[in-house]
Symmetry: C2
Subunit: 311 residues, 2 copies
């Protein structure tokens, strides 16, 4: 069994490749919920939905999130009331949030609902939220104002300077049922190429997760989401720089060194291999740009090969 | 100023006629909220929305509720998860529930939101929920099972026998801000042709409403929703029979006698005028079938004429 720590789009692409290499039923995704938010009374789980929609083959290929062929009639009508419509919820996508919110109101846990949504869309990978307890990523902007993650990421389009990031509620959050068991019993744990600060950061901050990984560090392998000093998607490079870290695969290695034995970096970063190994993280160099299903599969295969006894 | 006690479709049609006779800004609708429900985490106010959409000229003319030209993509997608989709929420209609639920979560009152929704859709009639506090109509079915109103009305299509109706929470509910003032200061109060049991019943049960009407009973006029022994829409006749009442305009008069001085009945019920006046309610006979805007206006005019000093 392979367990993958997931953020959103990058992790979803990686999982899409992995299901071509490993039977879907033998994959467990542990997904960031720090991005979760409540909008219009509905509980929205952007990373869980991105991963689920992608594995279901339903994701909008142009954005990497949302549903292909979705319409935005509800959002258009919402604007008549001056309702906040900067977080674009498609009409089909709304069904997921309606279902989830209804089930949560009935007393179901987030992990139960995640399983039901995945089953409803025919996804065989087991997708677990990192926690059923609320964890909320909060971003302190330059000047001191603190905003919710989606305010930073979507409303402000992450084009503002960040001073600090914290995960509200994480100290009290328990790993969702099955998370620690999966992290312990997996043949390999993969840290997907997701934003190390705001996607992987919250997962690692859930009590028990980092300790469990540290104990099995040699069979934990990460894929750097930073290639040639730039994030493939989103603000990871900028965030790392603003937080005083090196916005490169070396910075990623330093951040993940306590929990991860090997970092897979792109061929563009071959020159960084030495610096990465100085952080006590093994380095594997390969093509990490998942520009096609074949390339995603090839990356997944190379990642598993990096784990002793698995590849 | 004219104040109208409202349920859903019948009241909405009546108000549509009334705005052709009285300036919209001089009309206050006090609307039943006993039908309200929470579905998929969203607060739904069917009667408020029906009245608002109708006055905005946006209602689906075939059903009398919902929005014209709406689509049901979210509901269709919800079925993939096995989510309850018997209460059909259109994609455009969803925007209203999203906006309302978001505002309520921010701490706004239902009456504030009702005003904002009406303003957003260009409705000049002042629409007030009967109460900002939750009141829930509960229906006891033959055999003893008690269900929520929408379960009875929509899911079971009101084709089940009813033993009793109660309005959960009504004893503690306060009239929404402005309701008693409107009922006191109006030149006339009209009880719209809505279901007397489950639409008008909850409004009259809000503490203070019936007492206020009783004190000004001569200038309170109702329109019978029962014509020739049958409800024009919905289960009013059947409900009255099952609750041991006379399912006719006479039964309506008996029910409303404590708060209402005059009942307007259809020409089909001219033979009932004597029996109605025996209940100590004055009787006006006219054409009450609102089959066109002109007929709705004519009815509104006739209703106001029935109030001493107004018509």
């Amino acid at each position: 069994m392979i367990c993958v720590l997931c953020g959103g789009v990058g992790a979803a692409r990686f999982l899409s490749g992995l299901v071509g290499v490993v039977e879907a039923a033998k994959i467990v995704g542990v997904v960031n919920t720090g991005d979760d938010t409540v909008l219009h009374g509905l509980t929205i789980c952007p990373d869980l939905d991105t991963v689920t929609y992608t594995l279901a083959g339903l994701v909008n290929p142009e954005t990497g999130w949302g549903l292909e062929g979705d319409s935005f009639r509800a959002m258009g009508a919402l604007e008549r009331f001056g309702g906040a419509s900067w977080f674009r919820l498609g009409d089909l996508d709304l069904a997921t949030h309606l279902y989830r919110s209804g089930r949560l109101a009935e007393g179901a846990s987030l992990s139960e609902v995640a399983g039901e949504v995945a089953a409803g869309l025919g996804v065989a990978v087991r997708l677990l939220p990192m926690s059923d307890d609320p964890v909320r990523t909060r971003v302190r902007l330059r000047g001191g104002e603190e905003v919710a993650f989606q305010d930073y990421f979507v409303r402000l389009r992450h084009s503002v300077e960040v001073e600090a990031v914290r995960f509200e509620g994480v100290e009290a959050a328990r790993p969702a049922p099955g998370v620690l068991e999966a992290l312990e019993s997996a043949d390999a744990v993969v840290i997907a190429p997701s934003n190390p600060v705001v996607s992987i950061g919250p997962v690692l901050a859930v009590p028990g997760v980092s300790d469990t990984l540290a104990r099995r560090r040699p069979s934990v392998v990460a894929v750097s989401p930073i290639v040639a000093g730039a994030a493939l998607k989103g603000p990871a490079d900028r965030l790392m720089r603003e937080l005083g870290e090196d916005p490169s695969a070396v910075g990623v290695a330093r951040r993940l060194a306590p929990v991860c034995g090997t970092l897979v970096v792109d061929t563009a970063d071959v020159a960084l291999a030495g610096a990465i190994e100085e952080t006590a993280v093994g380095c594997v160099v390969t093509d990490t740009i998942m520009s096609s299903p074949e390339r995603s599969q090839a990356l997944a295969r190379r990642v598993l090969e990096a784990v002793p006894g698995v590849g």
